[in-house]
Symmetry: C2
Subunit: 243 residues, 2 copies
């Protein structure tokens, strides 16, 4: 009986992977994942068997992982970022249901909230919300309510999936919602291609962000009322009184 | 001229550290941090110089890191979890101010939202808020408003610093606020001593969590309306329609 290890590989480069994730990929028989993520790790573990499915076939991909493990192989299901946050760990548990086999292990990885923030400076030092702008699996009404709630409560906000071909207007709509409660000059940052070729960062005000050129490879950070720019970096103070 | 590398070491064990964090600790001259975190890494990098300050002396500790780097040594400032989220990266930038020296690099690490979730199952698959219950640096009114906002918007919630000697009642008070909007049977999980000796997990309903024995070594997870228990694990589905 094999097992399924759901591995968060972090943003994509080897250096930002945990030692535990690296060992899991070394020790498995089969690496399964969305082809973009499989391509990120393929060269480093060349002797493995690789399986993948297209982008929207998440359940098919996870079922494949379970089936291959039941056949006796050790499977690493790779997720970019964390294995849990918008990752495949929940779906693996759902599909395994009330069975106890195959064994499932979840190995956490750096999610874009952490890795993207580190590129921008230190925008998430204080309480924050993580919200995906993809309405493929969530109603836009719910997303809108979450944006409003986060803005009203002065949480810093991290936006995942800010824009795609299917939803070119979502970031603009999100900014308009946030601007009902937040000032135009609220500090924002965008981290693109984190840990990959072309990694870069840009800073905007919330008013500017509305029309910014942000794509599906970006993670967007919206500061709280304390957030400021210090020497070109986006910084949210924790509030230490002895500074 | 030395540099300051702010290193998120993750929950505490070597395996959950990133390869980049490990290399940074190997390559530095001096490791600075709160003594509990310094103790977590001391044995693996025995040839380094170690400096630490007591718990509440964050600014003093960060100033020490800057001063030692200005004197020409490469400093690794270690933070448990991530270097940014409730970490020291912002304070380093604040104290450096409008100077450009010493060079500062921020290396992200696994925050307890990721590492704790992986122990409990997959509770953070969907949008969530991270809120600290420590009112040392934040007013309780603000914390209360954030809890209310997150609950009303059906965000999963991760509570950092749920209880300490100075605030034995905070978790109970937080649960009472959440229970104004969420049902008594909402699924909750507690991860304790993540990645350290004695690592364990417990599951509660929100009604039970109010009186649960939770200490400062715990991270608390409160599910959203979709969260369920599957074969002993806490799982928040993303909502894939093809399952």
């Amino acid at each position: 009986m094999g097992k399924v290890v759901v591995v968060g590989i972090g943003p994509g480069n080897y250096e930002n992977m945990t030692i535990r994730a690296d060992r899991a990929l070394q020790n498995c028989d089969v690496i399964i994942g969305y082809h973009v993520y499989v391509d990120l790790v393929k060269d480093r573990y060349p002797e493995k068997e690789f399986l993948s499915t297209p982008m929207t076939k998440e359940a098919q991909r996870c079922q494949m992982a379970i089936d291959v493990a039941l056949e006796g192989k050790n499977v690493a299901m790779v997720c970019s970022g964390d294995s849990g946050i918008y990752g495949m760990a929940a779906l693996i548990y759902e599909l395994r249901g009330d069975r106890t086999e195959p064994e499932v292990e979840v190995i956490p990885g750096l999610t874009a909230a952490c890795s993207g923030a580190s590129i921008l400076g230190a925008p998430l030092t204080h309480d924050f919300a993580v919200i995906s702008l993809s309405d493929r699996l969530t109603s836009w009404e719910k997303i809108e309510a979450r944006l409003e709630a986060a803005a009203k409560a002065d949480l810093s906000i991290v936006l995942y999936n800010p824009r795609s071909h299917g939803r070119p207007d979502h970031l603009r709509k999100a900014c308009e919602i946030l601007l009902r409660h937040l000032p135009e000059d609220r500090h924002c940052g965008v981290a693109q291609h984190i840990g990959r070729e072309g990694e870069n960062r840009q800073f905007f005000t919330l008013g500017e962000l509305k029309d910014a050129d942000v794509d599906m490879f970006c993670t967007v950070f919206i500061g709280n009322e304390m957030t400021k720019m210090i020497e070109g970096n986006m910084v949210t103070p924790r509030g230490y009184r002895d500074v």
